[in-house]
C-alpha cells in the first residue's frame, strides 16, 4: 500500500486534481487496448509539465516505489498494465506543442500531445508527421515513442524511430536528461534509438523532438479486388518486384470486407476473396505512370476490378474502411483480439494459410487486415467471452499464429510491442545471451527495475487477474 504521506506529497506536486486514488475512478486505468488481463493501480498521477514528472519520480525514488507510464491507453500489448507497480504516471495533461521550426522541419512536443495534433499543427505549412497508427486521433507521442509505433504509411516513410531526433527522458531517479536533439549526427551512442521502443522501461519520455516531412503534392489511391488472398499476395510481390515502393499497401480478406461493408456501405464487393488498398504519393508527374504499372501487375495476377479514388472524398472513404476496420468487427462477434506478427513479405500467403488452418483446427473465425507491404499481419480472432471454451481456443490459436510467424523467419510484433501479452514467447526469438544483453542495457537506465516492471522479459513474474476477454476499446 502507498503511504498516505506519499500521496499527500504527490498532490502537492501535481495539484489536488492530479492524483486519482478512489477505487471507482481507478477502474478506467485497469487496462489499455489489451483487455485480456487487468490490474488497477493504487494511484494515478497526472503531472502537467516535465518538471512535475521529475518531481513525481523523485518522490517515488525516495520510497523505492515502482511506476507505469501511460499516455492515452490505446496500446494493444498491455504495456501500461500496472503489475508490481502501484503508481501510474499518466502524461495526458502534458499537451504543449512547444516549438515549430518550419525551415528545418522540426517540432518539439510534450509527451501527452496526440499524434494527429502534430500534423494538424503543421499542415498549413505543407508539412506532416509521417507515422500514422490507426489510433492517431487518440494516441499520444509519448506512447508512440515507447512502442515505436507504425501505421499504414510506414512502408515508405518508416516507423516512429525514423522520425524522432531527440527526447527528454525522466530517469527513474527523477533526473531529466536530454538525449539527441534537433541537430543530426550528435557524437556518442544512439541513446535516442534505444529509448524509442523500450516500452517505458527506461523511464518516462517527457518531450520529443520530431522530424516533419513534406506533405505529398498528390496521391493516387487504388482499390484492387481479387478472388483470393493468394492472388492479392501475388500482386503484392509483383509490385515490390517491379521496384515500386507505394506509400501504403494494405490487404483485407473477405470476412473483414463483409464487416466493413456492413458498417460503412461504400460499395465493397462482399464476395471478393481479398482487396488491396494501394496508395502512391509524391510529385504528381510520377503518379500516373506508376499507378498504371501497378494496375498492370494486378491484371497479371488476375485482378477482378480496380477502382481509383477520383478525389479526396473518395480517398478518405477508402482509408476510413481500412483505419476503422477494427471498429466494424463488432458486427461479426461480441469480442475479438488482434495479433501483430510479422513475416517476410513474400511469406504472406504462407501465414494466411496457417492462420486459416489455425482457425479451422480451433473452430474459431479469424478476419485478416494487414500491412501487406511490410508483412505485418493483424489477424482478428473473433469470439464470445461468455463461451469459456472458445476463449481458450482463441488464446491457443493466437499462440500458434505467432509461433508460425517466427517459424517463417518473422517476429512476434511489428508495431504493438511485447508488453505483457507476448512476454512468454520472447524465447522463440531470443536466446538467454540475447535477453541478458537487453537486461544489461535496461539496468543502465533503471538499475532498480522500477520503470514499468514485469514487461517484455519472459521471466517477469506476473500476477494479475486474467479475465475473459472483452471487446477492444481502440485500434
Amino acid at each position: 500500500m502507498l503511504s498516505r504521506a506519499l500521496v499527500t506529497r504527490l498532490r502537492a506536486v501535481v495539484g489536488a486534481d492530479g492524483v486519482i486514488d478512489r477505487v471507482e475512478s481507478l477502474l478506467v486505468y485497469e487496462c489499455d487496448g489489451y483487455t485480456l488481463e487487468r490490474a488497477a493501480p493504487e494511484a494515478v498521477v497526472l503531472p502537467r509539465t516535465p518538471a512535475e514528472v521529475s518531481s513525481v519520480l523523485r518522490l517515488l525514488a525516495a520510497e523505492g516505489v515502482a511506476f507505469v507510464p501511460r499516455g492515452a491507453g490505446t496500446g494493444l500489448s498491455g504495456g501500461t498494465l500496472p503489475v508490481g507497480a502501484p503508481v501510474m504516471v499518466c502524461t495526458s495533461r502534458m499537451q504543449a506543442i512547444e516549438a515549430i521550426d518550419v525551415a528545418n522541419r522540426r517540432i518539439v512536443v510534450q509527451a501527452g500531445v496526440v499524434n494527429l495534433w502534430v500534423t494538424n499543427a503543421v499542415r498549413a505549412h505543407g508539412l506532416c508527421y509521417a507515422p500514422d497508427p490507426s489510433s492517431q486521433p487518440a494516441c499520444t507521442i509519448g506512447g508512440n515513442v515507447a512502442e515505436n509505433s507504425g501505421g499504414p504509411h510506414t512502408l515508405k516513410y518508416g516507423v516512429t524511430t525514423n522520425h524522432v531526433l531527440g527526447v527528454e527522458l525522466a530517469l527513474p531517479s527523477g533526473e531529466l536528461v536530454q538525449l539527441g536533439g534537433a541537430v543530426e549526427d550528435r557524437p556518442g551512442y544512439d541513446l535516442v534509438g534505444l529509448v524509442v521502443g523500450a516500452e517505458g522501461t527506461f523511464g518516462i519520455v517527457t518531450r520529443a523532438t520530431l522530424r516533419l516531412v513534406r506533405a505529398p503534392e498528390a496521391y493516387r489511391t487504388l482499390l484492387a479486388v481479387f478472388e483470393s488472398v493468394d492472388a492479392a499476395s501475388e500482386a503484392v510481390s509483383g509490385i515490390i518486384g517491379a521496384g515500386i515502393v507505394p506509400a501504403a499497401l494494405e490487404m483485407m480478406d473477405r470476412l473483414i470486407i463483409q464487416a466493413v461493408e456492413a458498417a460503412y456501405r461504400i460499395g465493397l464487393p462482399t464476395d471478393a476473396g481479398a482487396v488491396l488498398l494501394v496508395e502512391l504519393d509524391g510529385p504528381v508527374v510520377g503518379l500516373d505512370p506508376q499507378a498504371e504499372r501497378i494496375a498492370a501487375v494486378c491484371r497479371a495476377s488476375g485482378v477482378r476490378e480496380i477502382r481509383v479514388a477520383r478525389d479526396d472524398t473518395e480517398r478518405a472513404a477508402l482509408w476510413k474502411c481500412r483505419k476503422r476496420a477494427f471498429g466494424a468487427v463488432g458486427r461479426l462477434a461480441p469480442n475479438y483480439c488482434t495479433q501483430d506478427g510479422v513475416v517476410p513479405r513474400t511469406r504472406v500467403p504462407d501465414i494466411v494459410r496457417r492462420i486459416a488452418a489455425a482457425a479451422e483446427r480451433h473452430r474459431i473465425r479469424i478476419a485478416n487486415v494487414f500491412h501487406a507491404g511490410d508483412g505485418n499481419i493483424h489477424p482478428i480472432l473473433l469470439f464470445d467471452e461468455r463461451d469459456r471454451d472458445e476463449v481458450e481456443r482463441v488464446l491457443a490459436a493466437g499462440r500458434e499464429i505467432l509461433e508460425a510467424c517466427v517459424a517463417l523467419g518473422g517476429s512476434l510484433t511489428g508495431e504493438h510491442g511485447i508488453g505483457v501479452e507476448k512476454m512468454a514467447q520472447m524465447p522463440l526469438l531470443f536466446g538467454p545471451d540475447d535477453l541478458r544483453a537487453m537486461k544489461a542495457l535496461r539496468a543502465v537506465f533503471d538499475p532498480e527495475g522500477r520503470a514499468n516492471p514485469h514487461k517484455i522479459f519472459p521471466d517477469a513474474k506476473v500476477c494479475v487477474e486474467t479475465r475473459s476477454p472483452r471487446r477492444q476499446a481502440a485500434m
Binding site: D101, A103, N104, G150, V159, T161, V177, Q178, A182, V183, E184, D185, P187, G188, Y189, D190, G193, L194, A198, E217, I240, G241, G243, I244, V245, G282, P283, V285, G286, P289, V342, P344, R345, T346, D374, G375, N376, G409, S411, T413, G414, E415, G417, M426, L429, F430, G431, D433, D434, L435, R436, A437, M438, A440, L441, R442, A443, V444, F445, I456
Partner: protein, 422 residues
C-alpha cells in the same frame, strides 16, 4: 602468438607492422578469424592476455576516432566476407561484417536493388565498418542513415557470447533496438559478426543539376528553396569555394541529385533549372548523377591534414560555410567546405596540420552551445594527439559511460577510441 595460431591457424596471424597501425599505433599482432566461433575465441583470448581488440574490415576507415588507449590486437574481419542471404522479394539482405560494399552492391544490383548508403571509399568499405563508423554520404538526404536501414545484428560480447538482436523482417519491435547501439559506436560495445539491412529498389535513373551561385548565402537560400519545393531531391549538397571536385575555385554551388522513373527525373530537372534561372543562377544538368555523387561522397576522405564534420540545423549550413570561408581568407589557409544541406552536415577539409586545433577551438564552442557538434572526423595521427576528436557530448555522457560499462566492463573493445575516452 601461438595462442592466436591455435585459434585461426598460423597463416592468419601476423606480427603488427607499420601498415597495420591505427592512428599511428602499431598493434601487437593482426589476427584474422574466419568464423563466429573463431571471433569468440579471439575475444576470450584477448581478455585472458589483457590485450584490447580493435576490429577492422579492409582498414579504409580506421582513421575515424581517437587513438586506442592501450596495447591492442587488430582483429581483421576480412575473411568474414560473405553475403549470407539476399531475399529480393522481401527487400532484405544479410551479410557478414567483413563483406565489402562492392560485393554487396553487385549482388543487389542483379535484382535492381541497392543499399542506399554511400560512404567515401565504398569499394573498400565493409558492412561492419559502415555500421561501426556510421558512415553516410549524400544519399542520406532522402534514404536515411545506417540506423534507418539496419534491421538486425549479430555481435560477440565482452564475455565471448554471441548476441543477436533485431531480426530479418522490415518491421519489428520485439525487444530493445540493440542494433542501434552498435551504429557509430566504433566497435566499443562488441564485435560485429553479421548484419541484416532493409534494401530498396534502385531508381531507374539518377541525374544531377549543378547550380553555380554568386555567394555562399545565395547557395544556402537556393538549397532551402529546393528542399521546400515538391520535387523531393534524391540528395542535396552545398559547396563553398573550392568544395566541388570539378567546380569553380571561387563562388559557391548547390548540387541537386534527382532520382526516379524517367518522367519524374525529367520533370525534376526542368523544375530545378527553372528555380535556378529565376534566382539568376546558372545551372548545368549532369547526366551521370551517380558518378558525381560518388565523387562528392569522397570529400569526407580527402587527402588532407584533417576533415572536420560539423552538425548544424539545415538552415544554418550556409552561415557556417560563410564563417569558415571568412576564416580561410583571414588566415590564408585554404579551407574547403562541402555540406549535406538537407541533413545539416558540413565538412571542412583542412590542408595544414597546425591549422586544425585552432580552427576546432574557434568553431566548436559556438556549435555545441547551439545543440550542434564539431568532430575531427579523419586526421593524420600527429593531428589527433593535439585535439579532442569528439568534443563534449553533454549531459548524456553519464549514461554513455554506463552503457560502455555494461557491455564492456574491462575495456576490451577499442578502448579510448570513442567519446569521452570510452
Amino acid at each position: 602468438m601461438s595462442r592466436w595460431s591455435e585459434i585461426v591457424g598460423a597463416t592468419h596471424v601476423a606480427t603488427g607492422g607499420a601498415g597495420d597501425a591505427v592512428d599511428g599505433l602499431v598493434p601487437a599482432c593482426v589476427v584474422r578469424p574466419a568464423s563466429a566461433a573463431e571471433v569468440q575465441a579471439c575475444v576470450r583470448a584477448a581478455a585472458a592476455e589483457g590485450l584490447a581488440l580493435v576490429a577492422s574490415g579492409l582498414g579504409a576507415h580506421l582513421d575515424v576516432g581517437a587513438p586506442p588507449s592501450r596495447r591492442f590486437v587488430l582483429l581483421g574481419l576480412d575473411r568474414l566476407a560473405r553475403v549470407v542471404d539476399h531475399q529480393a522479394g522481401d527487400m532484405t539482405v544479410t551479410a557478414e561484417a567483413g563483406c565489402p560494399l562492392g560485393l554487396l552492391s553487385d549482388v543487389l544490383a542483379a535484382a535492381g536493388q541497392w543499399l542506399p548508403i554511400d560512404p567515401p571509399r565504398p569499394r573498400s568499405t565493409t558492412v561492419g565498418g559502415l555500421i561501426a563508423a556510421n558512415l553516410s554520404g549524400p544519399l542520406r538526404a532522402s534514404q536515411g542513415r545506417v540506423r534507418d536501414l539496419l534491421l538486425g545484428i549479430r555481435t560477440v560480447g565482452a564475455d565471448g557470447a554471441v548476441v543477436s538482436s533485431g531480426g530479418r523482417v522490415v518491421k519489428n519491435v520485439a525487444g530493445y533496438d540493440l542494433p542501434k547501439l552498435h551504429v557509430g559506436a566504433l566497435g566499443t560495445v562488441g564485435v560485429i559478426l553479421e548484419a541484416t539491412f532493409k534494401v530498396r529498389p534502385r531508381p531507374a535513373r539518377e541525374e544531377a543539376v549543378v547550380i553555380a551561385c554568386r555567394s555562399v548565402e545565395a547557395a544556402g537560400e537556393t538549397a532551402l528553396a529546393v528542399a521546400a519545393g515538391q520535387l523531393v531531391p534524391l540528395w542535396l549538397e552545398v559547396a563553398g569555394p573550392g568544395g566541388l571536385p570539378e567546380g569553380p575555385r571561387d563562388g559557391a554551388a548547390v548540387v541537386v541529385g534527382l532520382g526516379g522513373i524517367a518522367e519524374e527525373v525529367e520533370e525534376a530537372r526542368a523544375r530545378t533549372m527553372d528555380l535556378a534561372r529565376a534566382r539568376g543562377s546558372g545551372a548545368v544538368a549532369v547526366a551521370d548523377g551517380a558518378g558525381l555523387r560518388t565523387r562528392l561522397a569522397d570529400f569526407a576522405a580527402l587527402p588532407a591534414a584533417a576533415v572536420l564534420r560539423a552538425g548544424v540545423l539545415p538552415a544554418e549550413v550556409a552561415a557556417l560555410i560563410r564563417d569558415v570561408t571568412a576564416r580561410a581568407s583571414a588566415s590564408g589557409v585554404p579551407l574547403r567546405c562541402l555540406a549535406h544541406a538537407a541533413s545539416g552536415v558540413v565538412r571542412v577539409a583542412v590542408p595544414q596540420a597546425e591549422a586544425v586545433a585552432p580552427l576546432v577551438a574557434a568553431l566548436r564552442p559556438g556549435l555545441e552551445a547551439r545543440g550542434g557538434s564539431l568532430i575531427v572526423e579523419r586526421a593524420a595521427p600527429a593531428v589527433k594527439t593535439g585535439v579532442d576528436v569528439w568534443g563534449d557530448v553533454g549531459p548524456a555522457m553519464g549514461l554513455m559511460r554506463g552503457v560502455k560499462a555494461a557491455f564492456d566492463p574491462a575495456g576490451l573493445f577499442a578502448p579510448g577510441r570513442f567519446v569521452g575516452g570510452l
